[in-house]
């Protein structure tokens, strides 16, 4: 789960990390009022709150939002009114949002901080070594996007302990790498320890400060902040779960999440229902190799009941992009007959208007096939994944 910048900053500030004065605004007048509270004379930075990086380099889909990106500098309060008017209610597209973009429903208004230099800092999980890694990059000339792709070896990586604090030697390593002046040392230590402790305390999977600023006084200030949390650990953090922004997800995604399914949408025409991420990926690969795109996939995972399955299938059936449905279930934990019952119950409720091909394998597969055959629904049964994909493509073409 992700949260917005202003929420992340609030959490980090509780760990001693300095953030610029700021406040959240849902309307232009609110933005103007907040600006007055954060700084007397400005300037101010207006930041569109969507859960994505590269907002400054992004663009708005609506004409009314003007040509600038999602992060704007304002020198007067009158301009704040104008700029927030433009951004609020508009859709911001960045390299990380995909072409559909995300709706801006709130703006974070901050007092502009004058800094001498900036750097990138983050903590992420190194999967191969099963360790926490601190990432620091000097981003004077090149932005981190380019550096991550072109010169990843220039980024400083330090393995952090799961317990305890960052060692003085590690702090020195970062000091040297960033060529910071001695007066920054204790601020840097607080900054890194703050990130580290927040990461552990909140079961984060990623924290990123892009960028952090170094002030003339040597103080370090987080000019931006992103935190991603481990969905599987949210049961330990009710306060974080409350921050979930439903606007960030589509309605169908939310419905699927209610049943503990995962659901993703793409821009093709086939809806896939599967019981594992691997099989979803393989089905999409196979479809693409035959020049057919995937509209969405629903992963129903394992150990579910018939009613939940039916609700899941309805999510796919009501996606207007879907011109054909592929159900590919390899039952281990999940028993195929439950899926068959779910298909029939969903079809009887919302109707079956597009071709549906089913492929079952594993636990109770024969029972499942029998259930479908007895139903008299126009369901096509296949034996292998490739056969299922071929039969579905043929059926979709025929129904055109």
């Amino acid at each position: 789960m992700n949260i917005h910048e202003y929420q992340a900053k609030k959490i980090l500030s509780q760990y001693g990390i300095q953030i610029p004065r700021g406040g959240i605004a849902y309307t232009p007048t609110e933005a103007k009022r907040v600006a007055g509270r954060t700084s007397l004379r400005g300037p101010w930075v207006l930041k569109a709150q969507i859960q994505s990086g590269a907002r400054n380099e992004g663009y708005f889909l609506e004409k009314k939002a003007g040509n600038k990106g999602g992060i704007r500098l304002s020198k007067t309060r009158r301009d704040i009114l104008k700029q927030s008017e433009q951004m609020l209610g508009s859709t911001l597209v960045t390299v990380q949002t995909g072409p559909k973009g995300k709706l801006v429903s709130r703006i974070y208004v901050e007092a502009f901080e004058k800094v001498e230099s900036i750097f990138y800092a983050g903590i992420a999980i190194d999967r191969i070594n099963a360790a926490l890694t601190l990432l620091v990059a000097s981003v004077k000339k090149e932005d981190i996007t380019q550096m991550a792709v072109n010169n990843p070896e220039q980024i400083l990586k330090i393995t952090l302990d799961l317990q305890g604090e960052v060692s003085p030697a590690q702090v020195n390593q970062v000091m040297d790498y960033l060529k910071l002046k001695p007066r920054s040392a204790k601020h840097l230590e607080t900054f890194i320890n703050g990130l580290h402790k927040a990461f552990i305390d909140y079961d984060a999977t990623m924290i990123e400060i892009n960028p952090a600023g170094v002030k003339r006084s040597g103080e370090i200030v987080a000019l931006d902040a992103k935190i991603s949390f481990d969905d599987n650990a949210l049961y330990r953090h009710r306060d974080i779960k409350r921050l979930q922004d439903d606007y960030e997800n589509s309605e169908r995604e939310l419905q699927a999440a209610k049943y503990k399914f995962t659901y993703s949408e793409f821009d093709g025409s086939i809806g896939c229902i599967v019981n594992g991420d691997g099989i979803a990926l393989a089905a999409m690969d196979l479809l693409r190799s035959k020049n057919v795109g995937t509209a969405c996939f629903l992963n129903v995972k394992g150990g579910v009941d018939k009613d939940k399955i039916a609700s899941g299938i309805k999510i796919i059936m009501t996606n207007p992009r879907v011109e054909g449905i592929l159900i590919n279930i390899l039952g281990g934990f999940l028993r195929c007959n439950l899926i068959a019952d779910g298909i029939i119950s969903a079809a009887s409720e919302v109707g079956l208007n597009v071709p549906l091909v089913v492929r079952f394998e594993g636990t109770n597969k024969d029972e499942a096939k029998e259930i479908l055959q007895k139903s008299n629904l126009p369901i096509i049964i296949a034996e292998t994944m490739e056969e299922a994909v071929d039969k579905l493509i043929a059926a979709v073409e025929e129904s055109d």
């Binding site: 992700n2 859960q51 994505s52 990086g53 990380q96 995909g98 983050g122 992420a124 999980i125 190194d126 999967r127 191969i128 099963a130 360790a131 890694t133 990432l135 981190i144 996007t145 991550a148 792709v149 072109n150 990843p152 990586k157 552990i200 079961d203 999977t205 990623m206 990123e208 992103k226 991603s228 481990d230 599987n232 650990a233 793409f266 821009d267 599967v274 594992g276 991420d277 691997g278 099989i279 990926l281 393989a282 999409m284 690969d285 196979l286 693409r288 190799s289 795109g293 995937t294 995972k301 150990g303 390899l330 039952g331 281990g332 934990f333 394998e361 594993g362 292998t384 994944m385 490739e386």
Partner: protein, 289 residues
């Protein structure tokens, strides 16, 4: 021969009195697996599925001489269950649960580093040596004893790979689902190393997927160790057009964004036979004989 488990493996089931555990342990017993005891804290002294139930893994091991465990405990309890298996010095523990918090896994991996216990999972269908032993949730009816070792990160694609070996008329020596969580116990390298030493395994099928760099590491290992046994690999996730993501940290850790094509290229370069479609595996297997 086989790897990690066989007919002599003595298995404890952790969390044996749960519904899923009951369903699957019964099937494992019917399959011939030597499940010798169960563990459910507070239910020690009872009998379940005809097996003695103990309060702790240590007690169960002492009473039965078990050397492995399979656990069907829910995610929040996985950390303490694995700790018990490690403390009891079992050779192997298999964790089926999905949804284990990553921080718990970081701590578990730290414990494993200092122990002799090998972990398979979490979020795995488990491990099966056809005709001998089954630990986990594999649909045992699709397996046939044979000479192909299968190791997979994806649960469901493991079954697909099994079916491919059957289509080739070959069967499996041992099948391992590594689990497709962010952090897992043993990885490809562990499995490849063991399959390579196993006389009965003539070839290896490896199923990877997008995310992480486990496949690159496997490719490097295969090449550096000059492994002679043929290996066929499929990597899922080529068609993912756009992943919504936050930030860059993930890409930095892996030294730049790693695509499925990168993984396939790394494997190809290492001398692994890479297929674009999972249903082509049987054709490549047939070419080997």
């Amino acid at each position: 021969m086989s790897i990690l488990i066989n007919r002599d493996t003595k298995v404890i089931c952790q969390g044996i009195t749960g519904t899923q555990a009951t369903f699957h342990v019964r099937r494992s017993l019917d399959y011939g697996t030597q499940v010798v005891a169960g563990v459910t804290p507070g239910k020690g002294g009872e009998t379940h599925l005809g097996l003695p139930v103990f309060n702790t893994v240590k007690e169960a091991k002492k009473a039965t001489g078990a050397n492995a465990s399979v656990m069907y405990v829910p995610a929040p309890y996985v950390k303490s269950a694995i700790k018990e298996a490690i403390d009891a010095k079992l050779d192997l523990t298999v964790c089926i649960a999905d949804g284990v918090p990553i921080k718990d896994m970081l701590e578990i991996k730290e414990m494993l580093r200092h122990s002799k216990t090998k972990l398979i999972g979490p979020n795995t269908p488990g491990i099966i040596t056809p005709g001998q032993a089954r630990m986990g949730i594999f649909p045992e009816n699709i397996h046939q004893a044979g000479n192909i070792g299968i190791v997979s990160r994806s649960s469901t694609l493991t079954y697909e790979a099994v079916l491919e070996t059957n289509r080739a008329g070959m069967g499996q020596s041992t099948v391992i689902g590594l689990g497709d969580d962010m952090l897992i116990g043993i990885d490809f390298i562990d499995a490849i190393e063991r399959f390579n030493k196993d006389d009965e395994t003539k070839a290896i099928v490896m199923i990877g997927q997008s995310g992480g760099t486990f496949e690159e590491a496997a490719a490097r290992y295969y090449k550096e160790q000059s492994i002679k046994k043929p290996m066929i690999a499929f990597v899922a996730g080529n068609a993912i057009p756009f992943g919504h993501k936050m930030g860059y940290a993930g890409d930095i850790i892996t030294n730049g964004y790693v695509s499925v094509q990168d993984k396939k290229d790394a494997l190809s370069d290492a001398g692994v036979i890479v297929v674009d479609k999972i249903n082509d595996i049987h054709k490549e297997l047939q070419k080997l004989s």
